[in-house]
Symmetry: C2
């Protein structure tokens, strides 16, 4: 935290992202136009740096243990329009312009099912 | 996973939430009306069960290591209108009707600052 106290973390202008014990924070990508939640993924410091440098969403794959750019194989990149950080700086919201379906299944959003009476049903 | 394969996890109707090594999954609360992202928090199995049972968002506090109901002290509960799950079932979106500001700072959303040129500025 570089000597920055809690009040500064919550109210200040210094960006001091708080990574968890695994070195990760949670990033929520939403469509900048429709506000639909597209996907939730993880960033380590390297992914965050690459995202800021390139303007394209990069994440850290927990299963593969490596940096990846969203859309690196599909072409369905997420172009960053704005980044927001929460009060304690351990989560990000990415307002993005998606180049195609955000989900690897081909769905526009990964959140294509809702929970209803204990089971999942197609949401839209 | 109870013998459920990847195809079933992604396309099926069985709700089989995938908790991480810490027993948690990420939950994104959004305002069901405005679609604004209000907060990101964590659920373990107990928090998820309580949320489903009560219709009020419950989370697991990573810092305090315990179950909490959002609004248990402030009264600013988050009433669940709909729950969505992502493709691999390790993240949830909660569409909620908030009883007050979602952030403990008094802000409507925890995401009240945007990143601009390396610094944070008040977003709205």
């Amino acid at each position: 935290m570089n000597g920055i106290d809690n009040q500064q973390v919550e109210q200040g202008s210094a960006f001091v992202p708080k990574f968890d014990a695994q070195g990760l924070l949670c990033a929520v990508a939403i469509d900048a136009t429709s506000l639909e939640v597209l996907m939730v993924a993880w960033m380590d410091a390297a992914a965050l740096d690459r995202t800021i440098e390139t303007g394209l969403a990069h994440f850290h794959s927990r299963s593969r243990g490596k940096l990846w750019m969203k859309g690196e194989t599909s072409g369905h990149v997420l172009r960053i329009k704005e980044m927001r950080v929460d009060c304690d700086q351990d989560a990000l919201v990415l307002l993005v312009d998606p180049a195609g379906p955000a989900c690897h299944t081909g769905a526009r959003s990964c959140f294509y099912r809702r929970l209803e009476g204990g089971a999942l049903v197609r949401a839209s």
